[in-house]
Symmetry: C2
Subunit: 333 residues, 2 copies
DNA sequence: CTGTTAGCGCTTTCAG
DNA sequence: CTGAAAGCGCTAACAG
């Protein structure tokens, strides 16, 4: 069994209060400080955070709930969240919802029972019901990437529609008129990006034939199948817009399998810039999200709530996106 | 503030002990059970795991320390570990060591202060010093992928040397004699795989010229630079063995940038089968690790220690590997 | 600055 | 089966 504050009380002859005060950075007579430090070292004393948490009702732990922990997007986010949190002395308890809304709600409850000080989520649900327990327990929550339908929760994200709109304009500016899209309507981000695409087409007066719209899911498979379907058309699009990382990769794979090539036969516009983008040839021209800022801002926002108890209204932070030029877009004419 | 066991005591008129017993699955009179359940529902009562942990000194939480949380290998592992743990009612506290040994040791201490019941680590260090605090606190540790130099800690891994040996034999069986390797000597797994390679070459009576050996680091960059160097040689190898996922990707990228192609100009033998392997063309022939078993076995082993307190000797579980045929190896002659 | 005291919310004897 | 009481390790008043 490890040493407790009581052991170091016996060792030093000081009172619990004094020692506790020292541990929490309070002022203690130099000679006592020396005694305490010696005892701590000798007994290998380390604070029992459980006991501390019980009395302070603050655990210096933040819960993180993601829809899929193995996704590179989330892994990257977790990295930055962890880094920012560590600097502030916080740790993170991670839950994987495995794209399951029910599990997501259970995860929230689990975290609350663990008395986390706050929660950061990249949610599966877009309906706020799963957050009810957190609200009741008065534990702050910040979402990343995907806001709630009614925007009733703090969120850090990008302007998906705008980012897509601008990107597609580039395609159009390069002379493309027959542009297809591979996306989804289920997920919030997909939906927004898809509508940004439609907006860009509309503003240029271009129509999108039905068979150029593939909404099969925001996944590797969705991208793969969507692209396969497009490549089977007798009148193929000259360019394709893919609305996230997985979809982009899936589409690239389908193209590779087809014998056609990019950008000679078809141009690509992708989304997200996680490491693997670099190994694909040709380099896909794509929209990039500010991954580190997404994580850092979420932490900042959450800790504002935790430490200052700011109640105010719900905040939505919308970060700007970048655009990475590759060589997957051919200029027509 | 959320309800406590005391509130439900007042609501039901029963004693704390009875309620606690109910909560822990003990036998209670049917009528009392009904009363308790009603009160729990009404008051939205949820156990405070902190308090419970304080008295039982078991938190039903396992600490997970990985060298890089954004790595797909670790993300995938975390997924399976979390799944297995959840089934048993455990949660996981995750720490990212960011490839820093000092941080790794701090992480271990942090987890101990949080009173985790056990620790699973994919370590940075190969020296057991960082585990000393865990040993002193008598908290079981299971490593994945990388054992300690002196094998003084439980570990679940594959037989890296053997896997490499067998894979390289395939290359040789295909008529290759001028085989290069891109690996590293720093990391344990790289070292083993590299030596498995040497063993295969040696047993076939083949020599490896110095310029065919690139030990620049087990990373994307290592793979990329290594491959670039190989491609600049006047007498190029006919095949290259790359000893992990990142190295494989880096090498593929270098090849893509060079204008040469695989397997026409050079054959590839890779390692690891994480999703992105599927999008690369050609499909790399590679050694695959049993990711889910690695995670599950580690959990099994750890819980054996936690729940049954098995002390015994240290266990090392070595899982078998698979071999995925792609079309990156050209048969010579 | 230091010590005493009273809990935080829960489990766990031990009687009844 | 149930209840009373003690205590897990720590912090937080409040006196001194």
């Amino acid at each position: 069994m490890s040493a407790t504050i009581r052991d170091i009380k016996n060792q030093t002859g000081l009172s619990l209060a004094t020692i506790s005060k020292y541990l929490n950075g309070g002022n203690v007579l130099p000679e006592n400080r020396v005694k305490i430090e010696a005892a701590i070292r000798e007994l290998h004393y380390e604070v029992n955070e459980l006991a501390r948490g019980l009395v302070t009702s603050r655990t210096k732990t933040v819960g993180v709930v993601v829809y899929a922990v193995e996704s590179l997007f989330n892994g990257t986010l977790i990295k930055y969240i962890g880094k920012a949190l560590r600097k502030l002395g916080y740790g993170l308890l991670i839950c994987d919802s495995d794209n399951d809304e029910e599990l997501e709600e259970r995860n929230i409850r689990y975290l609350l029972n663990k008395k986390v000080d706050g929660i950061i989520a990249v949610p599966v649900s877009s309906d706020g019901a799963f957050l009810k327990p957190a609200r009741e327990a008065d534990v702050p929550v910040v979402l990343i990437d995907r806001p709630l339908k009614d925007s009733s929760c703090d969120c850090v994200r990008i302007d998906n529609r705008q980012a897509a709109l601008r990107a597609v304009r580039v395609l159009i500016a390069n002379g493309h008129r027959d542009i297809a899209v591979i996306s989804s309507e289920r997920e919030y981000t997909a939906y927004e990006r898809y509508h940004g695409f439609l907006e860009a087409m509309d503003e240029a007066g271009l129509s999108v034939p039905e068979e150029y719209i593939c909404l099969g899911g925001h996944s590797f498979e969705g991208g793969n199948l969507g692209m396969k379907r497009l490549l089977e058309l007798s009148r193929k699009p000259s360019a394709v817009f893919m609305t996230n990382y997985e979809v982009t990769l899936g589409a690239v794979m389908a193209l590779n399998d087809s014998g056609l090539s990019c950008p000679e036969d078809i141009s690509f516009l992708g989304f997200d810039d996680l490491i693997m983008s670099h190994i694909i040839k040709p380099r896909i021209t794509r929209v990039v999200q500010p991954m580190s800022s997404l994580g850092e801002k979420a932490v900042e926002l959450l800790l504002n709530h935790i430490e200052n108890g700011e109640e105010l209204m719900t905040t939505e932070i919308v970060l700007g996106t970048g655009f990475m030029e590759g060589d997957s877009i051919r200029a027509l004419e």
